[in-house]
Amino acid sequence: MSILQVQQLSVALPTGGDRPEAVSDVSFEVHPKEILCLVGESGSGKSVIAQAIMGLLPKTLPVSRGSIQLEGEELNGARQARIRELRGARMAMIFQEPMTALNPVMRCGAQIEEVLRFHGQHAAGARRQKVLDLLREVALPEPERILASYPHQLSGGQRQRIMIAMALALEPVLLIADEPTTALDVTTQAQILNLILELQKKHGMGVLFITHDFGVVAEIAHRVAVLREGQLVEMGAKHDVLQRPRHEYTRMLIRAVPTLEPHSREARSDAKVVLTTTNLSKTYAERGWFGSRREVRAASDVNLELRKGQTLGIVGESGSGKSTVARCIVRLLKPSAGEIRLGGADLARMTPRALRPLRRRVQIVFQDPYRSLNPRRSVGQALIEGPLNYGVPRAEALERARRLLALVKLDPDVLDRYPHQFSGGQRQRICIARALALEPELLVADEAVSALDVSVQAQVLALLEEIRTRLDLAMLFITHDLRVAAQVCNHVAVMQHGRIVEYGPAREMFLAPRHEYTRALFAAAPGRGYAFGG
């Protein structure tokens, strides 16, 4: 018998949404000892399904039809009090962002204990022992110390382990995991996925695992269900779906997953050098009250060289200093030491006044397309801002803006529209066009495709590649995703703790990584070595 049975589930969207229902007629089952992966792009309704099961839907999104049965008990229309009893006890959920899912002013131990207390489990004395057991079970080091820590004192991976311990506290039969590793670094992600697999086997739980990442699916799933705009388009065993997808949409998604195979791409070593950094360092100093100083070295002794027409990737996990290097090169930050040579000029020591004429030669595209455009300025205003700053007449700047929109494959007539009228991928195209409006020599892409859905990501990557060859640009590509780096980079620098640990041609590094950390990164990449079909 299945532990969770969802039949013909539909959830209505408020009127005025882009479609009448967030989820339409979705049916699936989760069996005991099984991991069902619910895969879909943003807006596909996968989180709505999880919330519907847990009874956490906001009032604006009511379940309009269908049934949800947990161990044969109907949840749709059940009393709130009953759902509250089942939550935690029979079904539990872990979330994407453990920092916001944990209460910041409560010690972690107390938060886990609360679950036991509210469900009337264990005597007060025994609870502490149970919490310690749970912390040991999720493989947290020094459980005694963790018990007394606040969430901010732990790392992201540790926080997610706390969430998992909390979810497991009452031995639920169903665990819902809503993108539990998306906010984590790749090496941490691998550990958490292993932990979930291990615990699932040990406790024989059914797991509903929600993700957008086919690499993760390949690692963890038994069965896969693919969602598109609220409808289930394909469901089946993992190998069937990943290797012989039947639906066109699934095929498209799987094709869009970048592979770890580096593209063979001849790197001309005689091209003109655009950028060199010599011992580039950035140190943040915190001055204490009594003269004590604490220094944080965000980047130290970074040496890079980038030639015209080439792409240099900087790969690293969060806190590795990769974005600091990018910001120093664009001079949004002032480096503490070292040189940044762009052509002949050293940008590192320049005053803001001397820097202004040089800014046009280096442009940047940011990660978050929703925050990169001023919501109160039209696309046209955004695109002509740069050229107007450098004295290009308005008519000519507008003409250039139209050409750029065509270059990034958008309709040139959208100049009067505002950013909220565009999707994430379209906004990122606008940001690229804005950066190109100044005809830079160097384009810095700081995690420029990380926030995008996989199908859109593939399109934007192709666009960046096309622009680089067409305009013979030098590109500095910052990413945490090795697969993305494999697609676009000639050279790759791997950063850890503010230092470059390995630097060389992409092909050589991907085939034979030398540094231990690089190898760890490769080993952690989800779905490596899985032969996707399509």
Binding site: N374, E385, G386, Y390, A435
Partner: protein, 285 residues
């Protein structure tokens, strides 16, 4: 979307009615609010009486809200007082916003200015608003501009703090960094990129200042340190009626009702604007 909010509708309509009353005062059966007639002293509301114009002409007049101890028509004085109150409220809000925005943008975006400027603002905030206002009026002659400035000054630090906190979060937005990378001069970034994104919360803050300014003006007039007694304001009328409050409560009652209604209308409008324009500050429904 803004007009669908009931708070905005109710507050807006009430305020509109007050503005109409204030501008159309001469045609709403009023007489010159400074006229007095010893024969028509201390009339009850609705009583008929006579009042002599400056030219010596005697008019038949119904004292809708009664008359005061000089024989002046309270109704006329309250309506003309509405003009003063709304003018002081709106002008003070504009002055406070203008200075507060400039200071807040400077403190928020130019780091070197932040420390010194905010310490000055802290200093101003440490003095009660009413004391600053009294001091300013005492320094200069009590006139309309003086009172407006006197009421606006204690509000400037509050606006500055609000704008500064908004700027501190907006300056970290990638679109501001993109503008820096595009070579946009600092002034253009401050006024072209950051300022437009602070407008919604500022509008809301503006209505609160407006309501507070109307109150403060009445308080100053009531205490006798505001506008001179020959200008009819709600505070003045109440101050003069205060001594006879037990015998003739209408002297205080009617201007008091207008004052309360106006402040309430402006505050309701502000709450509605906050809920519609500024989802971050909106109370959860």
């Amino acid at each position: 979307m803004v007009l669908q909010n009931w708070s905005v509708r109710i507050g807006g309509v009430a305020l509109l009615v007050l503005i109409v009353l204030a501008t159309a005062a001469p045609w709403l059966g009023t007489v010159d609010p400074t006229l007095f007639d010893a024969a028509s002293r201390d009339l009850k509301p609705g009583a008929a009486g006579e009042i002599m114009t400056l030219e010596g002409e005697v008019l038949k007049h119904t004292f809708l809200m009664g008359s005061d101890s000089f024989g002046r028509d309270i109704y006329s004085r309250v309506l003309y007082g509405t003009r003063v109150s709304l003018l002081v409220g709106i002008a003070s809000a504009l002055v406070a916003l203008a200075f507060g925005v400039v200071c807040g943008l400077g403190a928020g975006y130019l780091r070197w200015l932040d420390g010194p400027l905010m310490r000055v603002m802290d200093g101003v905030m440490a003095i009660p608003a009413i004391l600053i206002a009294i001091a300013v009026v005492a320094l200069w002659r009590a006139s309309l501009p003086t009172v407006i400035v006197a009421i606006a000054i204690p509000e400037i630090p509050r606006v500055t703090r609000l704008v500064r906190s908004l700027v501190l979060s907006i300056r970290e937005e990638p679109y501001v960094e993109a503008a820096v990378a595009l070579g946009t001069p600092t002034g253009k970034i401050m006024f072209g990129h950051i300022l437009p994104n602070t407008v919604a919360p500022l509008l809301v803050q503006g209505t609160y200042i407006c309501a507070f300014a109307i109150l403060l003006e009445s308080i100053l007039s009531f205490l006798g340190v505001g506008l001179p007694p020959d200008i009819p304001t709600w505070g003045n009328i109440m101050a003069e009626g205060r001594v006879q409050f037990v015998a003739y409560p209408h002297n205080v009652f009617f201007p008091g009702v207008f004052l309360a209604a106006t402040v309430l209308a402006v505050n309701i409008l502000g709450d509605g604007l906050r809920d519609t324009l500024d989802p971050k500050m909106a109370k959860r429904v």
